[in-house]
Amino acid sequence: MTDVRIKLNQISKEYGTTKAVKPFNLEVKKGELFCFLGPNGSGKTTTIKMMTGLLEPTDGTVLISGINMWTSPLEAKKQIAYVPDQPKLYPKLTGQEFLQFTASIYQISEQEFEERSTQYVSMFQLDQRLDELIETYSHGMKQKLSLCAALLHQPDVLFLDEPTVGLDPQGAKTMKNLLQALCKNGMTVFMSTHILEIAEQMCDRVGIIKNGDLLTVGTVDDLREQKGSADSSLEDLFLELTGDTEAQALVREMGDSPSSEVKR
């Protein structure tokens, strides 16, 4: 059994002449929480979609626990779960029915379903709304339900695209704690986020992508070392790597400006 849960070999995606994701290699290990960072339109979601079997890479391979996603999709998909940034669930099912649908597709035993659904549903405080149609749920509730469904079959790899968008502070906190606990138990989490604070606090390693180019991969400390600025926050490092010169200057200027301080 390999310790590498996600292995990307020269994976790339092109749309006509546009290179959405340029070829790169990446390995994410068992129990690792990996954060994928990048500005809007940098290729984060495209990469995740290629890893989850939603988009076929133009070139390169995706291996999940050693199984090729595009030659053995069913076996590979049994190892993963995916929570998109905008969960598109079945609006005319109740929360409970959606969980049951997912459980039946993964052929989870009744006992496992009972235990896990109760655990996650109460953790995200969805128990009171589980018998309502999903169409009545808020974005945050759909996000929570999608996460509960994703965890039912205890996947080896969990892909999360902007998981904290729409979550209330308590939900976000619960999710952070849960993800850390899951990783401790050996689950691999691959997460894209805009919230650098989360990435800095939670992730074992981060990867920064811009215009489809994977600029760097490493721990936050590695990045600081690379840039030679031990006191820099991840935000500074991120802006330095991804922002253009003018944007960086503007951000710095705003940060230094007295007008940006809160007037009391």
């Binding site: 939603l54 998909k77 049994k78 598109k88 589980l130």
Partner: protein, 563 residues
């Protein structure tokens, strides 16, 4: 204020036409020209009819024409009014402005009037003019006829408004968003009943034998027809003015009534439509959870979606209409029902033939919508570890079972009405059901290659081109199946009287050939027929599912219609 709003609406419509795609503009222009030609053709008919018509029939023909106008108007205006009253995006903004509901209502009323009702009004002006010229009517006829047409259009529009204002009050809020589709169906039924009104009212009296059925005297369309007939025949009396007066007073009354209902119905209805809180809890299913096979679970997921959205059921309305309208027409016509009951074999075989065509067409259409029904959730299935084959079968079985139950229901009702034996009723049901499995599978495949999703019109789930191809393929399949179907089901003993027909047309000739052929070895030929049906169905279903599964594995592309 109302005038200001109307001006803005006009500007918006103009801009939307200016900035629409060339394709949309061309479609609009071509449709207008085509409709123009149709109106021109009807103008010619109106002219020649009026020039040869007996004076005493003018009132009847005008009354019936006005009834048709009203029926068309209600048919088109009810759904359109509903969209304008409760569905338009600008209402949220308008209701936050310091405007009276009545102002918004009248602006919307005018906006609708300038659409299809306006076009119907213009068409009626052209037709009335040609009718007047043909009948050599006096000059006074023309302004009065135009006023009468305007009155009737306003009555139709006022009625459409009132029906909408009423419906939104009685429909539960969580169903309000599905109301549009129901209203369309309701308008269809209402339109049909209006067309049938003369037959219904004329039943059992001498008028049924006349060339044109006489309209009830209390109908405004009768007043309109009668008064114009007086003017055309130059026999204007006090009655003429009384009828015209009654018509105009009715128009004003309906408009005032609908306007006064606005404050109560318009804003509250819109709120109900847009709040639409569906906090109603479903019965908890936690205890009944069982791990099912994915193919069953996918089917159940489809079933839950279908049963909870009444828009899904509207796909079956045409089928119910086409099945029931001929039966309804037979039942309301004197003598027809009694005649058809004397030969159950004839009614049975005829209904089976109609049902085969309709069922195959409807199953293919109904099932084709199942792929695009996934809408934006399509990615959900793609990340799950299920084969395209499983998804295809999961979708196919539930759609087929629903329609199989539906056709069974229709067969049993027809069986009772026409006095069929239980064996015949069940035999027809099963054979049609079996053939329908093939057309369902064909629909599924076309649904996968031409999926289209429009959140505002969820029952329209196929690309236009694909839906036409599906129509022809499904029709071809039915035509091929019709031969073994007839070999299996035709009751040769009961229909032997058809052999006596010495001058048969193509259809009867075919039936005569099948009767003669089957009479030689009825059981053997029935068995051969059923085997052929079954083999053909299996082959077509297998091929369609296989190709559909491939499409699903490859990743179905759904065209999303922009809102």
């Amino acid at each position: 204020m109302t005038w200001n709003l109307i001006r803005w609406f006009w500007k918006m419509n103009r801009n939307s036409f200016k900035h629409s795609s060339d394709k949309a503009k061309t479609t609009l222009i071509v449709s207008t020209v085509a409709i123009g030609f149709v109106i021109l053709m009807f103008c010619g008919i109106a002219f020649s009819m009026a020039s040869t018509l007996q004076v005493e029939l003018i009132s009847d023909i005008l009354g019936l024409s006005f009834l048709s106008l009203l029926a068309f108007l209600i048919l088109f205006a009810i759904p359109q009014v509903f969209t304008k009253l409760y569905g338009d995006d600008d209402l949220a903004m308008l209701f936050t402005m310091p405007l009276k509901s009545t102002h918004v209502y009248w602006a919307k009323f005018t906006q609708i009037f300038l659409g299809i009702p306006g076009a119907i009004f213009l068409a009626s002006l052209a037709l009335l003019t040609m009718f007047g010229l043909g009948a050599n009517a006096p000059f006074l006829y023309y302004p009065i006829a135009y006023l009468v047409a305007l009155s009737l259009v306003l009555i139709g529009l006022g009625l459409a408004y009132m029906i909408n204002l009423l419906l939104i009050q009685i429909v539960p809020s969580h169903r309000a968003k599905e109301l549009m589709t129901v209203i369309t169906a309701f308008a269809g039924v209402l339109g049909y009943l209006l067309f049938q009104l003369p037959t219904l009212m004329g039943r059992g009296n001498d008028h049924a034998l006349q060339q044109f059925p006489e309209l009830p005297r209390w109908l405004p369309v009768h007043w309109a027809g009668e008064s114009l007939a007086h003017i055309i025949s130059r026999s204007i009396t006090g009655m003429t003015f009384l009828l015209l007066g009654l018509l105009f007073i009715t128009t004003i009354f309906i408009l005032c009534l609908s306007s006064t209902l606005v404050d109560r119905g318009f804003r509250t209805g819109w709120i109900q439509m847009n709040e639409g809180s569906s906090k109603k809890k479903k019965k908890s299913t936690a205890i009944s959870f069982k791990v099912r096979k994915p193919v069953i679970e996918i089917g159940l997921k489809e079933w839950r979606t279908i049963k909870r959205d009444m828009r899904e059921w509207t796909m079956l309305i045409p089928m119910a209409f086409f099945m029931f309208f001929p039966i309804f027409s037979i039942m309301i016509r004197d003598g027809s029902y009694e005649f058809i009951q004397t030969i159950p074999a004839l009614s049975w075989f005829s209904i089976q033939a109609i049902a085969l065509g309709l069922f195959s067409f409807m199953t293919s259409t109904f099932t084709s919508g199942s792929v695009a029904r996934e809408g934006t959730s399509i990615d959900l299935l793609r990340v799950l570890p299920v084969k395209g084959w499983t998804v295809a079968i999961g979708k196919l079985w539930i759609h087929w079972v629903i329609l199989f139950g539906f056709i069974g229901f229709l067969q049993i009702i027809s069986g009772f009405i026409f006095g069929w034996s239980p064996f015949h009723t069940i035999a027809g049901w099963f054979l049609i059901g079996m053939i329908g499995l093939g057309s369902s599978a064909i629909g599924l495949y076309f649904g996968a290659i031409g999926a289209k999703f429009n959140p505002k019109n969820p029952q329209n789930r196929l690309e236009t081109g694909t839906s036409f191809i599906l129509l022809f393929v499904a029709l071809g399949y039915v035509l091929i199946q019709a031969i073994p179907f007839a070999l299996t089901l035709l009751p040769v003993n009961d229909l032997s009287f058809l052999l006596e027909e010495t001058n048969p047309g193509f259809f009867i000739g075919m039936i005569q050939w099948v009767i003669e052929f089957k009479a030689r070895a009825p059981i053997l030929i029935s068995l051969v027929g059923i085997t052929l049906c079954f083999t053909l169905m299996l082959l077509i279903a297998w091929l369609s599912i296989k190709f559909c599964a491939k499409e699903i594995d490859r990743g179905v592309k759904i065209t999303y219609v922009k809102e």
